[in-house]
C-alpha cells in the first residue's frame, strides 16, 4: 500500500485522475491481498484466531476483533443462512441460538461468541438414517402453512420459534403471536407465521419428541 501511495498517489487533487492511471497497480495490490482461500485480509488490523462450534462442528478462522458474529458466520465460515437486515438489533433476521438461547448475531462479536455453541438455521434440520435431511417441526410447519414468501427474515423466525417452543410447547394463538413480535417480516403480514408456530407445536407432538 505504501508503494502505491508514494509512487502514484502523492496528491489528492482529483482532476489529475492519477487513480485511473494506476489501475494496473491497483489490481496487483488487490491480488496480493487475497489469500488462497479467496477471503481477504487487511494488513494493519491484527487478526485473531477464532475457534467456534457451529451446528456441532468446530470451525477455525482468522478475523479481526470487530468482526460481527453475523459476518463471521456468513463470510468467514460461509454459512449464509443467517441474514442481515439492519445491523442494529431490531429486525431479527440475524437471530441465531447461542447455547440454545436466541440472540442477535449482529449484536455480538465473533471473538465473544466463540465461548459458546452456536446454532444457525443450517443446523435445525436433522439427518435421518440414510443421511438425508429431515426438516425440523418448525421448518416443516413453515412449509405447510406458507409461513414465508421471500424467505429473507425466515431464518431469524425459525431459530426464535425453535427455542420458544422448547420452553412453551403448547402456546395459544395469542401467545404464538406475542412470541414472534420481536422479528420483522415485510412479506407475510405474520398471519401464516402465527399458524406455523401452532402447527410446529402440533408436529412436535405428532413426532413424539422435543424439536
Amino acid at each position: 500500500m505504501s508503494e502505491m501511495t508514494q509512487s502514484h498517489l502523492t496528491e489528492s487533487h482529483l482532476t489529475e485522475s492519477h487513480l485511473t492511471e494506476s489501475h494496473l497497480t491497483e489490481r496487483e495490490m488487490a491480488e496480493s491481498e487475497m489469500t488462497e482461500r479467496g477471503s481477504t485480509r487487511t494488513e494493519a488490523e491484527p487478526l485473531l484466531e477464532i475457534v467456534m462450534r457451529v451446528n456441532g462442528v468446530m470451525h477455525t478462522a482468522a478475523a479481526p476483533a470487530r468482526r460481527l458474529l453475523s459476518d463471521f458466520l456468513r463470510h468467514d465460515l460461509r454459512l449464509t443462512g443467517t441474514h442481515v437486515g439492519c445491523e442494529h438489533g431490531v429486525c431479527g433476521a440475524c437471530t441465531v441460538l447461542v447455547d440454545g438461547t436466541p440472540m442477535r448475531s449482529c449484536l455480538m462479536f465473533a471473538v465473544t461468541a466463540q465461548d459458546h455453541e452456536i446454532t444457525t438455521v443450517e443446523g435445525l434440520a436433522t439427518l435421518d438414517g440414510t443421511g438425508a435431511p429431515t426438516m425440523s417441526p418448525v421448518q416443516q410447519a413453515f412449509i405447510e402453512c406458507h409461513g414465508l414468501q421471500c424467505g429473507f427474515c425466515t431464518p431469524g423466525f425459525l431459530t426464535t420459534i425453535t427455542a420458544y417452543l422448547r420452553e412453551n410447547p403448547e402456546p395459544t394463538e395469542t401467545e404464538a403471536r406475542e412470541a414472534i413480535s420481536g422479528n420483522l417480516c415485510r412479506c407475510t403480514g405474520y398471519q401464516n407465521i402465527v399458524k406455523s408456530v401452532l402447527r410446529a407445536a402440533e408436529i412436535t407432538t405428532e413426532r413424539g419428541a422435543p424439536s
Binding site: 500500500m1 502505491m4 501511495t5 489528492s12 482529483l14 482532476t15 487513480l19 489501475h23 491497483e26 489490481r27 488487490a30 491481498e33 487475497m34 477471503s39 481477504t40 485480509r41 487487511t42 494488513e43 494493519a44 488490523e45 479481526p64 449464509t80 443462512g81 443467517t82 442481515v84 437486515g85 439492519c86 445491523e87 442494529h88 431490531v90 433476521a93 443450517e122 434440520a125 426438516m135 421448518q139 413453515f142 412449509i143 405447510e144 406458507h146 414468501q149 421471500c150 424467505g151 429473507f152 425466515t154 403471536r177 406475542e178 414472534i180 413480535s181 420481536g182 422479528n183 420483522l184 417480516c185 415485510r186 412479506c187 407475510t188 403480514g189 405474520y190 398471519q191 401464516n192 402465527v194
Partner: protein
C-alpha cells in the same frame, strides 16, 4: 394443479438456509462502499482522499471525474411523458451539486466492507451548503428552487378530463369540498439492494447479479452505460429478499458503478447496501396534498368530481410520473362519476426520490375517493355502503370505458368485476348491519369503536409483454423460464402449476427460472401486479405449443392421430388405450435427430435406428420445424385487466390516550381465477400489513434541513406481529376476458385501501372527520382537543351508528346514552 393451494417449491431450500441472496454470492469479491452527502443541497468544492489512501486494503477510490463515456452522463429517464416538462435524473456519482442527503459522491473499493467504510470515513468532502426545500408547502411556494431548470419546482403538470366537471358540480343539487393529505412511506424490503459483478477479461464480458425486479432492464441500461454490446452483458436476479417496488427502479447508480469498477479493476466487485443507505439513498413514496370538489344528488350519486393534487416526487424523477398518473386514474375506483377532472403537479424537494411503492399511487387515489364517499354519506345522512352502491359500475356496464388513459398509455377500460357482489360479501363478512348494536354495547362499557370501509379497483397485468419458454429434456425434466423476476411471490410454484396442468406432467419434474437474461432475454419486469397475468399466460401459451409438438411427434411415432392422444403424468398415451404410450422423455429424444448418441436413451434418435415412418426423401428436421421439444410464446395484452377489492375494519380508540387498535380487518378480494389461493391470500396479508404500517406507524420524517430523522428501524416504525390484526378474507372470482387463463393480478391488493379504511373507521369512532393520514395516537389526541374546543367540526352523524341512520338528526341511540360530541354541523 391450477387453483390448488400446493406447497411451495421454493420453501425447502429457503427454510434450510440454502437461499442464494445477493450477499451470499461473490464471497471473494472486493467490497464497495460510498461516501454519501450529509447535506440536502450543497455544492462540492473539494474532495480530499489522502487519508483514505493510507488505509490498508483500499484498492481504488473514484469520483465523478473518473467516470468515462456514458457512465459520466446522467442516469436515464425511464418513462418519459409529454406532461413531464422538467424531468431530472442524477449522475452515478455527484458531478457538482448534491440534491438530497444520501446522494453518492465517492465510491471506495476495498478488500472488505469494514475496510471500505474505514476509508470512506477518512475522505474529506468540502461542501458549500445551499438552501433546502422540504415538504410540499415549501416546494409550492417556490421561494427556493431544487433545480434551476425546474421553475416553480414543478417536474410535471397534467390534466385529464372527461365531460365538464366544473359545470356538473355547479349544477348539482349538493356540493362538498375536501382538503386531504396522505403520506405513504417506503417499500423497505428486509433485504436491501445489492450488486455483484464479474468481469471476464477472456470474454470481455460482464456477468452481474443484482437484487432487482427487472434483470432485462438492468442489462440493457448497463450495456448502454458501459458502451458494451448487449450480448456481452448478462444480468441475473438471485433470490431477492423482497422488492415491493423499490427494486424496479433501474439502473441504480451502483448497478452501473459496480460492473464498471469490475471491468476497470479486472476483478469481482460487490456492493451490499446497509439499512441506513437504504433509508437515505433508495426511494420512498411520500406525500400528496389533495383538493376535492364534488357535486352529487340526493342519493349520493356523483355528478361531477374535480380533484387537484400536489405530489412530492423528491429530488429526481427517473421513473417519470407513473405514481401520480396512477393516482389520477385509479382514483375512480369502482364508480362512474358523471364528469371527472383530475389535475396534478409533481413537485421537487431536496429529499430522496419518489418512485412506486406497492400500490404505486393507487392508495392515494383511493383515499381521495373513499374520503369523498364517506363525506357525501355523512352529509346526506345515508349509509356509507348505500352511497357507494349508488355510484357503482354495474356488471351490465362491463367493459366500462372511463375515457382516460391509464399508466400503460392505453385506454382505462375495466374488463370485468361485480362490485355489488363484492360489497354484499364484505358486508356479510364484517357484519355491517350488526354494527350499531355492537357499538351500543361497547359504549355501555365506556369503549369507543368505529367501523370503516374502503373500495378500490386495481389495474393489473400491464404490458407491453412477457414471454415464456419451455424445454423438455431427454430425462423428462421440464425447464421453464420467463424473463421477469421473483421476490417471494412463489413464481417457481405457480408457474410450475400452470405447466403441470397444461402439459400433463408432475410438478416435481418442472423447474422454473426467472430473472436470468441468460435463460430468457425478452422481458419487462415484476411490478404492477403483473407477473401471474403476463408470464402466467405466456408460459401457458408456450406449454400449449410444446404439447402440440409433443403430440405430433408421438402421433408420428405411434402412428395415431394426435387428436387421439393425451398426456398424463408425463406419459403420452392413446385415450382409452393406455398400453399404447410413450414417455415425454422419449418424445424429447425423438424430437432431436442425432448423429451421436450421448447416452442410452439418445440411441433411439440416431440415424441408423428406424423410427416409425422414416421417409428417406424427407429431411430429418422438416421445414418450419426446429429440433428439440421446446416452445416459446409471448403474451401481450391489449390493455390492463382490472382486479378489485373492498376492505372493512373495526377499530377501537382509547378514550384517554387515543391509542388506536384494529379489532377486526376484513378483506373481500377479486383477482379473477387464482392459480394458488394460498399464495394469493399470503399476498393479501402482506399488503394489509404494509397498509396498516402506512396508516398508523410509518412515515419518513424530514426536518427543514432535509435530514431524514428516522433513518433506522428504531425510529421508522414498521409493524411487528403485535401491530398487525388478524385478517379475515373472502374471495370472489370474476375472470378476465382479456387473457387465456382468465387471471388478474393480486400482488398489491392488500395495501391499496387501508389508509382510507382506517381513516373511515377512526372518524366513525370519534365523530369528527379524519382528513390526514397517517395518524398517530398523539395526533388523534390533538384532534380530539381541537374538536372539544370547537375548532374542528364534527360529523353530522356524530358517533351515531351507521346502517339505519336516516336524514333526521333526532335519532336516539338505542342505549339511551348521550354521545359526547353530537354534532350536526356540515363539513366544509
Amino acid at each position: 394443479m391450477f387453483g390448488a393451494p400446493v406447497q411451495r417449491r421454493e420453501d425447502p431450500r429457503l427454510v434450510t438456509g440454502s437461499g442464494r441472496y445477493l450477499d451470499d454470492l461473490g464471497q471473494g469479491a472486493l467490497a464497495a462502499a460510498f461516501v454519501r452527502s450529509p447535506y440536502a443541497h450543497a455544492r462540492i468544492l473539494d474532495i480530499d482522499v489522502t487519508a483514505a489512501i493510507e488505509v490498508p486494503g483500499v484498492i481504488a477510490i473514484y469520483t465523478h471525474e473518473d467516470l468515462d463515456g456514458k457512465t459520466g452522463a446522467r442516469l436515464p429517464l425511464l418513462i418519459p411523458h409529454p406532461s413531464m416538462t422538467n424531468p431530472m435524473t442524477s449522475y452515478c456519482l455527484t458531478r457538482e451539486v448534491v440534491k438530497h442527503v444520501g446522494e453518492a459522491v465517492v465510491m471506495v473499493v476495498a478488500t472488505d466492507r469494514y475496510v471500505a467504510e474505514d476509508a470512506c470515513e477518512r475522505i474529506k468532502v468540502d461542501y458549500e451548503q445551499l438552501p433546502v426545500v422540504v415538504g410540499l408547502e415549501a416546494s409550492r411556494a417556490a421561494e427556493l428552487l431544487v433545480h434551476a431548470e425546474a421553475p416553480g419546482n414543478v417536474s410535471a403538470h397534467m390534466v385529464q378530463e372527461v365531460g365538464d366537471a366544473a359545470a356538473a358540480i355547479a349544477a348539482a343539487p349538493h356540493r362538498l369540498s375536501l382538503s386531504l393529505q396522505i403520506e405513504r412511506s417506503a417499500s423497505m424490503p428486509m433485504e436491501g439492494k445489492g450488486v455483484y459483478a464479474r468481469w471476464d477479461s477472456d470474454e470481455q464480458s460482464i456477468r452481474m447479479y443484482t437484487s432487482t425486479q427487472t434483470s432485462t432492464g438492468v442489462r440493457a441500461a448497463v450495456a448502454a452505460k458501459l458502451g458494451m454490446p448487449l450480448i456481452k452483458v448478462e444480468c441475473i436476479a438471485p433470490d431477492v429478499g423482497g422488492g415491493f417496488g423499490v427494486k424496479i427502479v433501474h439502473p441504480w447508480p451502483e448497478e452501473v458503478l459496480i460492473p464498471w469498477a469490475a471491468r476497470r479493476l479486472d476483478a469481482e466487485v460487490k456492493w451490499v447496501e446497509d439499512r441506513r443507505e437504504h433509508f437515505i439513498s433508495s426511494a420512498h413514496e411520500r406525500a400528496q396534498v389533495q383538493d376535492v370538489e364534488v357535486g352529487f344528488d340526493d342519493t349520493g350519486r356523483v355528478l361531477g368530481l374535480s380533484v387537484k393534487f400536489w405530489h412530492d416526487n423528491g429530488a429526481y424523477t427517473p421513473y417519470g410520473i407513473i405514481v401520480p398518473i396512477i393516482t389520477s386514474t385509479q382514483l375512480l375506483g369502482p364508480y362512474k362519476p358523471g364528469a371527472y377532472r383530475c389535475e396534478f403537479f409533481s413537485m421537487y424537494t431536496n429529499t430522496v426520490m419518489v418512485t412506486p411503492y406497492r400500490g404505486a399511487g393507487r392508495p392515494q387515489g383511493v383515499y381521495a375517493m373513499e374520503r369523498t364517499m364517506d363525506s357525501i354519506a355523512d352529509y346526506l345522512g345515508l349509509d356509507r355502503t348505500d352511497v357507494r352502491s349508488a355510484n357503482f359500475i354495474q356488471v351490465a356496464d362491463m367493459p366500462y370505458d372511463h375515457g382516460l388513459l391509464f399508466q400503460d398509455g392505453r385506454p382505462l377500460i375495466y374488463d370485468s368485476g361485480d362490485f355489488p357482489a363484492s360489497l354484499a360479501m364484505l358486508k356479510a363478512l364484517v357484519g355491517w348491519d350488526d354494527f350499531a348494536a355492537y357499538r351500543a354495547q361497547a359504549e355501555l362499557e365506556g369503549r369507543k369503536v368505529g367501523l370503516g370501509i374502503g373500495c378500490y379497483v386495481e389495474g393489473t397485468g400491464v404490458g407491453p409483454y412477457e414471454g415464456g419458454h419451455i424445454q423438455i429434456e431427454t430425462t423428462g425434466r421440464v425447464n421453464v423460464s420467463t424473463g421477469l423476476t421473483s421476490q417471494g411471490q412463489g413464481h417457481q410454484t405457480v408457474f410450475a402449476q400452470i405447466v403441470a396442468d397444461e402439459l400433463g406432467v408432475s410438478m416435481d419434474d418442472v423447474f422454473v427460472t426467472t430473472g436470468d437474461t441468460r435463460r430468457f432475454a425478452y422481458a419487462v419486469g415484476t411490478f404492477a401486479s403483473r407477473a401471474a397475468v403476463m408470464s402466467g399466460n405466456a408460459i401457458a401459451l408456450a406449454a400449449r405449443n410444446v404439447r402440440e409438438k409433443a403430440l405430433r411427434i408421438a402421433g408420428d411415432a405411434l402412428e395415431v392421430d394426435p387428436r387421439d392422444l393425451e398426456i398424463v403424468d408425463g406419459i403420452v398415451r392413446v385415450k382409452g388405450d393406455p398400453e399404447s404410450s410413450m414417455a415425454l422423455a422419449t418424445v424429447a429424444v425423438l424430437s432431436n435427430p442425432l448423429r451421436y448418441a450421448f447416452d442410452e436413451s439418445a440411441k433411439a434418435a440416431t440415424q441408423f435406428v428406424g423410427i416409425g415412418s422414416a421417409d428417406p426423401s424427407k429431411p430429418p428436421v422438416a421445414e418450419g420445424e426446429e429440433p428439440g421439444l421446446e416452445g416459446k410464446d409471448y403474451y401481450s395484452p391489449p390493455r390492463a385487466t382490472f382486479a378489485n377489492g373492498m376492505h372493512a375494519a373495526i377499530v377501537e380508540t382509547d378514550p384517554e390516550t387515543a391509542e388506536i387498535t384494529i379489532l377486526r380487518y376484513c378483506v373481500v378480494h377479486d383477482c379473477g381465477r387464482m392459480i394458488n389461493p394460498m399464495i394469493v391470500e399470503g399476498q393479501v396479508h402482506g399488503g394489509v400489513a404494509q397498509g396498516v404500517g402506512g396508516a398508523l406507524y410509518e412515515r419518513m420524517v424530514y426536518d427543514d434541513a432535509g435530514q431524514l430523522l428516522n433513518a433506522s428501524f428504531m425510529d421508522f416504525l414498521m409493524p411487528y406481529a403485535s401491530e398487525v390484526p388478524h385478517i379475515e378474507t373472502d374471495h370472489l372470482e370474476t375472470p378476465s376476458p382479456l387473457n387465456p387463463l382468465g387471471i388478474k393480478g393480486a400482488g398489491e391488493a392488500g395495501c391499496i385501501p387501508v389508509s382510507a379504511v382506517i381513516a373511515s373507521a377512526i372518524e366513525d369512532a370519534e365523530g369528527f372527520p379524519i382528513t390526514s393520514m397517517p395518524i398517530s395516537p398523539d395526533e388523534l389526541w390533538d384532534l380530539r382537543r381541537q374538536h372539544a374546543k370547537g375548532l374542528l367540526s364534527g360529523l353530522r352523524r356524530g358517533t351515531r351508528s351507521t346502517g339505519t341512520t336516516t336524514q333526521s338528526s333526532a335519532q336516539t341511540n338505542p342505549s339511551n346514552q348521550t354521545n359526547p360530541s353530537n354534532q350536526t354541523n356540515p363539513i366544509d
